[in-house]
């Protein structure tokens, strides 16, 4: 079997063939390893991919065949992990110099949950340095390219995870979403990307960018797989105080189509403004129309502070980041600058050599936002606007059950196109930031292809209403029947000319 032949396989299909013994876990991972060897030279989605290690895990699976028992939920399924999430025994670099050779002595809770569910930890995927970026170009290990068009970025910061799923190097991946870092790359690569409710998934072992916003989420080719992955990842964790002590999300809570049809859909007009590419607005609007034809109640609503969310987001996120990244000082771990004589020199040189420009820029901005005399003007203001953004959503959910918006204001752009203009880069998060600020579960799925480029549609639900979010996303997926991408392996020439 080849990966192409499995392009429409869901996790349930892999389980079926594994359970029947049509294929062994080792044979299955070999197919994906083969796919990686074809695609990696072109897209650079993985920072760490150790075939031996992957095969060893698959072998372990074979050693303990749970005979007639039902297989664990992700038995034998390769899952790629963003490289800011700690996995034992292999590096966690965050795409940076400072952690270039860093191996975490402990493992993230989410990775342990994946292992417990029988998943094969396939490798570590590329990202913008410390998850700070929207294009996966700022990794010191080179940019990741969009498998749908190698001249374009895959989005970011979880661009490696999105590209790996879109090229079917792996069926599933996880990323982290602070202001859109799962959903925006999912939109750019035509796959499904989910940001769960803040507090739904443990952050323990996920290198913090902005603690009050970071959340780990699944990327997959199908909505049902993302839901399954969300179920595996979610649930309380005694090691993370921000993780809510609620029962995990369960796919069995997802409403039926009948029930889903009763949901009132809110369409926030601010998300269709002039800042959004016309073709994208049109495609999303047409998807909404199809839903209306299916009998859904569609309500136009307003989230009046949407326009301010981006600025407020950057104030809050960067303030937290400036403090979260203070620990990278070369004392305990990571790369200390060579030949330093004094303490001050150690700090300055280690950090200047260890961080890329965008990271430094964000640390500086965040430090500024928190410094005495500017705290009220910047950080405090950011937090207050965050309140207004939350209140907008709270009000909206009085009138409707779920919101539909575009995921990204633009199509995947060319490599290098925005890297020199930080603010233009920040703007690509404009539609994913507000729900992150409010801590709400949001999902992006591909609703159309325009000239070969995907259009992401975002589904935003109320807190802990992943059930509704997935319910509507499943409905839409079936209704729109836009197939997940299966790009042809480029010939060598195409890869060369960049």
């Amino acid at each position: 079997m080849t990966a192409e032949e499995m392009k429409n396989y869901r996790v349930s299909d892999y389980r079926r063939i594994l359970q029947k013994g049509d294929i062994s876990p080792r044979e299955l991972v070999k197919i994906f390893l083969e796919r990686c060897s074809q695609w990696e030279p072109f897209i650079n989605a993985f920072l760490h991919l150790d075939a031996e290690r992957v095969l060893r895990q698959a072998e372990e699976m074979e050693k303990f065949p749970p005979a007639d028992e039902e297989l664990p939920q992700l038995f034998g399924i390769p899952v790629a992990v963003k490289d800011n999430i700690c996995v034992s025994g292999i590096p966690t670099t965050c795409g940076s110099h400072i952690l270039e050779n860093y191996v975490s002595p402990y493992e993230a809770t989410v990775v342990q949950r994946l292992r417990r569910a029988g998943a094969i930890i396939f490798g570590k995927t590329n990202l913008d340095q410390f998850a700070m970026g929207s294009s996966t170009e700022s990794s010191v290990f080179g940019a990741t390219r969009n498998p749908l068009d190698l001249s374009r970025v895959p989005g970011g910061s979880s661009g490696g995870s999105a590209a790996a799923v879109a090229s079917l190097e792996v069926p599933l991946a996880i990323g982290s979403d602070t202001g859109g870092s799962v959903r925006q790359p999912a939109a750019f690569c035509g796959v499904v990307g989910v940001r769960p409710t803040y507090g739904r998934v443990s952050r323990y072992g996920v290198v913090s960018f902005a603690s009050s916003l970071d959340q780990v989420g699944p990327l997959s080719r199908f909505v049902s797989d993302a839901a399954l992955l969300a179920q595996v990842l979610s649930g309380e964790d005694p090691l993370d105080s921000t993780c809510a002590p609620y029962p995990p999300f369960s796919t069995s809570d997802i409403p039926s189509y009948e029930e889903t049809r009763k949901m009132r859909l809110g369409i926030p007009r601010e998300y269709f403004s002039s800042g959004v590419d016309r073709s994208i607005s049109e495609e999303v609007a047409s998807a909404v129309e199809k839903l209306a034809k299916e009998g859904f109640d569609v309500i136009e609503i307003s989230l009046p502070h949407t326009d301010f969310a981006l600025e407020a987001y950057y104030l809050v996120a960067l303030a937290e980041a400036s403090s979260n990244l203070a620990r990278f000082d070369g004392v305990l771990y990571g790369k200390r600058a060579q030949g330093v004589k004094t303490l001050m020199e150690m700090y300055h040189r280690t950090r200047i050599e260890g961080f890329g420009n965008e990271v430094k820029r964000r640390i500086m901005l965040g430090t500024y936002a928190l410094s005495s005399g500017y705290y009220d003007e910047f950080y405090l203001k950011g937090m207050k606007v965050r309140t207004l953004v939350r209140q907008d959503f709270e009000k909206a959910y009085e009138a409707c059950d779920i919101l539909l918006t575009p995921s990204s204001p633009c199509f995947p752009f060319k490599l290098g196109e925005k890297i020199s203009d930080p603010y233009q880069m920040y703007l690509t998060d404009i539609l994913t930031v507000p729900s992150a600020m409010a801590g709400l579960p949001s999902l992006s799925l591909n609703c159309a292809n325009r000239d070969g480029l995907p259009v992401g549609l975002q589904v935003i639900a109320g807190p802990f209403r992943e059930d509704r979010m997935f319910g509507l996303a499943l409905f839409l997926e079936e209704l729109l029947s836009v197939e997940p991408p299966i790009p042809a392996v480029p010939d060598v020439k195409e890869g060369d000319d960049e």
Partner: protein, 89 residues
């Protein structure tokens, strides 16, 4: 600000940096148009009271791994350049 963040820049870097920073900072002025006087800040997204630890020690037991990988360790101490002003602890 660079010193507070323990970062260091050359003149030229600083120039580009400040240009970029200023370009970003001007956008934050947008927030000045909002009346925020009666708005309370959201510092955390909280859904419930947070979990706590019991007061029972548990040994981690893997500190050797941290020391093995550290930039500089002698006799189980993490080594840094001498701190000149030792009073400022």
């Amino acid at each position: 600000m660079a010193h507070l963040s323990r970062l260091e820049f050359t003149e030229q870097e600083l120039e580009t940096f400040f240009r970029d920073l200023n370009n970003i900072l001007v956008h934050f002025e947008k927030l000045d148009t909002l009346d925020l006087s009666n708005v309370s800040p959201t510092s955390h997204i909280t859904w419930t009271s947070p979990p706590v630890n019991p007061d029972q020690p548990v040994e981690w037991g893997r500190e050797e791994e941290v020391m093995r990988a550290a930039p500089k360790v002698e006799d189980r101490y993490f080594i840094v350049p001498k701190i000149v002003d030792k009073q400022e602890g």
